[in-house]
Structures are given as structure tokens and as C-alpha cells.
Amino acid sequence: MTGAALLGAIELGLIYSLVALGLVVSYRVLGLADLTTEGSFTLGAAVCALQTTQGHPVLGLVLGTLAGACSGLVTGLLQTRMKMQPILAGIVTMVGLYSVNLMAMGGRSNLTLLRLDTAFSWAEEAVPGLGSLLAGGVAALAAALALGLFFRTHGGLCLRAVGDNPTMVGAFALNWENGILIGLFLANGLIACSGALLVQYQQFCEITMGTGMVVLGLASLILGEVLTRASSLPGQLMAAVVGSVLYRILMAGALAMDVPAAQLKLFSAILVALAISMPTLRQRMTFSRQRKANQPKEKGLAESRLKYQGQGETPC
């Protein structure tokens, strides 16, 4: 793999790490498989792309993030106020967002931001060569740090309890429904921010860029968790960033090994499946080692039996 490819992979990983961080909130903390993710990622990208073409890259990042956060709120309202199944609520929002995203892009299915001012073009001007890496790193670390601080507050603690035991939360004068709303708002805001950053980075926005985002984000998160053996929340936040970067490096590695572009999706699916089943595989290996150690020593047993028969001793 060339240095440029590695650098690009790390930059991408840092940008995508915001998706994994969002999933820490919705999947790990609240225990929801939130499919809004696929739509809110593109929404953030679309809103940001349109603003950037109008010459407002910073406003684009802010509005894209907010728009995505609000789409999370829609899913949350369906789930809590309408008692819709979490998976279904996410799918409903995701389907609706497809049209919203097309509208946000002015009716086109792709937009180009070539030669326009973006956060990354400014960063590259300031620090040639490493600007994008720095910008991505700042975004990822700022998001991880902000989340970490939030979960240290009393409000953050209550949010964790909502995911753990809603009944208990209700018994202490807290409305768990509001917890779901806040959590999905935060999660999808982060995910949309990732989409917004990505269009500015790759200078291109298309309607299908959110497809598979839940699984990719989850795979990155789990890959990070498995490798860093993180179980605490701050550890999970770091694992999300580490896992994202690593996932992108592995993908870049596959490209460098001349995996045909057409087979890249298959490679990524295998990687995802491997990452997600890693904890189970590890558990199984530990078990089989334990089982082997617990086996009676067949050979030794046979010898002692022979000895007993031959010498007429009584076994004790």
C-alpha cells in the first residue's frame, strides 16, 4: 500500500468514526438498531453539499448536522409517542428521507463540489499535505471528547439508565421517552455530521452514499471494541474511532492487493461478518481450550487400569 493510500484511508476512517460514535449512543447505550442512520447520513451530506455549492461550507456543516439530528427526532417520536417498533420506526423515517434528500439536493441525485471552498480545502491551504488528516482528527476527537463529557454528567447517566432499564428510570421521576428522543437526536446528529464532512472531503455527494451505513458503522465499532477490549463507555468511544480508522485501512489494503473493484463489496461484507462474529469466535476458542484441559488423560487412565489388573491392588 502506498503512503498516499494509507493517508487517505486514515482520513476517511476519522471522518467515518462519527458514524461509529453515533452508534455508540443509539446501539450501545440505548440498545436500538436505528436504521434512520442510512437516511440521516445522506441528509447531512445533501444539506451540507447544497450549502457548500452556495459558498457556505461552515453553515453547511452546521445545518447538515442539525437536519440529521432532527430526522433522529422523527424516529424517536414515532417510537415513543406512537409506540412504533424501533426497527420499523427507523425504516419509515429512512424511506421518507430518500425523497427529502433528493429535494435537499435540488432534485438531482448527485452534486459535485469540485474547486469549491470546504473545511478540508481550507485545512489543506493552512497545512499542505496534512490538512485533511488534521481536520478529520480534530472532528473525530472533538466528537469523542464531547460525548465522553456528556456521559459524565447526570443527564448522560440518566440516558445510560434509559437504555439499561426504562422501568427503573420511570420510577425516579424521569420520562424515559424523552431519553430516547435525546439519544436519537444526538446519535443522528453525529452521523449526519459525518456525512456532511464526507461530501466536503470527497467533493462529491450522491443519493446512495448512506446505503449500508448501519452495518459499516457497527462493524467499525465492534472491530475497535474487539481489538481494544473496551467495555467501559469511554473505552467504547475510543474503540469507535480506532475501529473506524482500522476498517478503512483494511479496505485500502484490499484495494492495494488488487482485489477487483467489483468484488470490494464482498470483501467488505466478509470483513463486517468477521468483525461482528469475533467476540463469539473468541468465546468459543476459550471454551474449547477449557474443555480440552478438563478431559481425563485417556492414556494415563489405561495405564493405571493395567497396573491395577496386573498387581491386584485395590484402587483407592
Binding site: R152, T153, H154, G155, G156, L157, C158, R160, A161, D164, N165, T167, M168, V169, G170, A171, F172, A173, L174, N175, W176
Partner: protein, 249 residues
């Protein structure tokens, strides 16, 4: 303190499964009353506690707490003044949070919740002190996840959580029924301790008639959604627990 006026509640109305769980319950609790509730399965004991806690809204009647009409207040808002313990110890605590994190959430009830650091050192000292009261060694395990505790320990913690900010009313729904005899005894003793200490008003559902008569200062017997008997402390002493079996139909 608590005033229940003509509470009616039926489940699945208009279907063949219609069941009247509360058929006109009137009850007044005075401040400091510790009332035990007995009755057969399906007598309406748990429904009564659920109605007071707001798990569902009653069909008819009014619920007044300290003069305030809470009949249509949502459950999470009532819980600012009402503490509740369930039979299942896992319902009252969050398993993946530590003991001190659980207590911090409980301590936030009815208080202005702070958006700064969730647990302060002075709070930690306070938790340790309160836990040592139970003599279970929990005070040394503040950063232990609650899921690792035994049922008895979890219920003890749930009891402390429900009362760490004294509620106006404490509802105990067979909270010792799922515990082994020793743990049940321990939790019952602690219940008496915290109720006495905080001068709490409490309603305790139990199937243990012995406990129902020895705990608290008043016992009500329920059957078919009604209060059949309301025994004061002196009346309790003149009734033999055995004669109450007649109400278990």
C-alpha cells in the same frame, strides 16, 4: 396523606375477558401509616398499587396525594413523590450501571438535576454511609455493576434507592416474595428500619400473613376488588391470623 375515592378499574372491557380488578375502593392513609395489604391472588392488591403509582389510569374515582389530585398524572411524574418496589429485584435497578450510578439517579429524584459531574465525592460518602446501614458490605462495592449482585442485595439496593430521597408514599409490591427466606427476612427488617427512620407512609402487599400482622400499624384485607376488612393495630391483636384464611377464596 393518601385518599382514594371510589376507584374502579376493569381490564379488557367489552370482551369476554373482562375482569373487574378494582370494584370501588375507598381508602385513607394518615401520615406515618404503614399499612400491610393481604388477599388472595386476583384480589386486586397489585392493581391497587398500580393505580396509585400510575401504571394505568383508573376508570372511575379519584386519587389524592397530600390534597393534590393525581388521578391523571403520568406515572413518571407521580414517581417524584411515590417510591415503589417490585417483586422482581431486577425491575428497580439498572444492571449495567454501578451501585453508585444507580444511587445517583435515585438521589436525583425530585431534585433539580445537575448537568455537571454525575457523582461528587461528598455524594459518594453519603452513599457509603447509607449502604453501611444494611450491613451487607455493599458500601465497599460502590463501583460494582448491579447485575453482579444477588437478588437480596439488589432488592436491598432498590429499597435504599426508593427511599434515599424520602418519598411521600412508599409502595411495596410483594418485594420479598422472590427472595430466599434469609434474604426476605433481612429485606423486611430493613424495610421497617427505613420506614421508621424516614417516618414514611407505606403500603405493603404480602402473602406472608405473619409478616402482615407483625409489620406496620394497620392491615387491610382485599377480595374481588374491594377492601373487605380494615384492621387497626388493636384490632389486629385480637384477630388470629388463621381466621383470615376465610378471606382467601
Amino acid at each position: 396523606m393518601l385518599k382514594l375515592q371510589g376507584l374502579y378499574k376493569s381490564f379488557h372491557p367489552g370482551t369476554v375477558n373482562e375482569r373487574t380488578a378494582l370494584a370501588g375502593v375507598d381508602l385513607t392513609l394518615n401520615p406515618g401509616d404503614f399499612v400491610t395489604v393481604i388477599g388472595s391472588n386476583g384480589a386486586g392488591k397489585s392493581t391497587l398499587l398500580g393505580a396509585i403509582a400510575g401504571s394505568f389510569y383508573v376508570d372511575r374515582g379519584r386519587i389524592l396525594l397530600d390534597g393534590e389530585d393525581i388521578t391523571y398524572q403520568p406515572a413518571y411524574r407521580r414517581s417524584g413523590q411515590i417510591g415503589r418496589l417490585f417483586q422482581d429485584p431486577s425491575q428497580g435497578t439498572a444492571p449495567n450501571l454501578t451501585i453508585e450510578e444507580n444511587l445517583a439517579i435515585a438521589a436525583g429524584r425530585g431534585a433539580k438535576r445537575r448537568w455537571i459531574s454525575s457523582i461528587t465525592p461528598s455524594q459518594r460518602d453519603f452513599f457509603r454511609e447509607e449502604l453501611s446501614l444494611f450491613e451487607m458490605g455493599l458500601e465497599n462495592r460502590l463501583t460494582c455493576k448491579v447485575g453482579q449482585l444477588s437478588g437480596g442485595q439488589r432488592q436491598a439496593l432498590a429499597l435504599l434507592m426508593a427511599t434515599i430521597r424520602p418519598p411521600k408514599l412508599l409502595l411495596l409490591d410483594e418485594h420479598t416474595a422472590a427472595l430466599d427466606p434469609a434474604a426476605a427476612q433481612k429485606v423486611l427488617e430493613m424495610t421497617q428500619l427505613v420506614v421508621q427512620r424516614g417516618h414514611l407512609t407505606a403500603l405493603m402487599v404480602t402473602h406472608n400473613i405473619q409478616a402482615a400482622f407483625s409489620v406496620g400499624n394497620r392491615t387491610i384485607v382485599m377480595g374481588e376488588g374491594k377492601i373487605l376488612k380494615d384492621l387497626t393495630q388493636s384490632q389486629r391483636q385480637s384477630v388470629s391470623p388463621g381466621s383470615l384464611l376465610a378471606y382467601y377464596v
